[in-house]
Amino acid sequence: MGAKGYTTTRSKNFDYVVSRGADVPIDYKRANYVHVLKEHEPDGGSMTLETLEDKIYVENAIRVTKAGGTVIYMNNEPPEMPEKNDKGIHAEWVHHRPDGAMLQTIMDLYGNGTFTAPKMEVMGLEDAAEAHRKSESWRTNGKMVLHVQDI
């Protein structure tokens, strides 16, 4: 796409996220990612995707986005801060919509090797409660998949 992508992760995952397309990984335990982004992109980035749910992360996302840019977040509460209006930032809670045709377009990109599947942690359906606890801990190692039955 010609975009330059920054992402936060622990240092041990740098190679993995770079292999997934990130240009600049930032270890959020060792550095304040807001400061790092301000250093690299003084005017802010064009688009920020924030998947953490606490309000502070959405506010930070607005701080690191340039005037007229877009912030996508997963928190259901809309962020209210003067900086958002002053900079004309479009901030939106994106909730996916099922779309089989669009999904087919994406699947075809996996089919021809343009995209590759992520790292996964596979558990059994009977381990669903344990999987939810892991999801709550934010300490997952790849996408959590539940095996339901052999086909």
Partner: protein, 142 residues
């Protein structure tokens, strides 16, 4: 059929593994024999009740938005999916259940795609919700 479900809001402890009725596909639906599903943050946010004002629940709730599996039956108005086709789909928008933490799931034909042969069931189940979220964020949100 075997399924994971919950009957009230609460912690992960409320998830039960037991028998639930096998769904019947509606006229526009595909009945999928589920090979795999995946865990998304929305699963626990719905289970805890945090998002209850935004979603319609079908009780008891069988969670699971992402599904990968084989078509076992199709409704009378389904055109592009046949029995035996391998599919991958995202089940819901503002409602939840009965979902894919189960041996069978009925899903709208408009919500399912054909699974590429080079993807495993597990890989396929990991993709729909996160990929559609990212795709729609990048292409539609500005």
């Amino acid at each position: 059929m075997k399924a994971v479900y919950y009957e009230e809001f609460g912690s992960a402890d409320i998830l039960k593994l037991g028998e639930q009725p096998k769904p019947e596909p509606g006229p526009d639906q595909v009945l999928v024999k589920v090979a795999a599903t995946s865990v998304n943050p929305i699963d626990r946010r719905l289970r805890s009740g945090e998002l209850k004002d935004f979603f319609q629940y079908s009780w008891p709730v069988i969670p699971g938005w992402d599904v990968a599996g084989r078509s076992e039956a199709v409704g009378e108005d389904v055109e592009d999916f046949q029995v035996g086709d391998d599919g991958v789909g995202l089940g819901f928008t503002w409602s939840v259940g009965p979902g894919a933490y189960a041996e069978y799931m009925a899903i709208d034909e408009t919500a399912i795609a054909k699974k590429p042969a080079n993807l495993s069931w597990h890989e396929a189940a990991s993709l729909p919700l996160v990929n559609l979220t990212a795709w729609q964020s990048l292409n539609e949100s500005y």
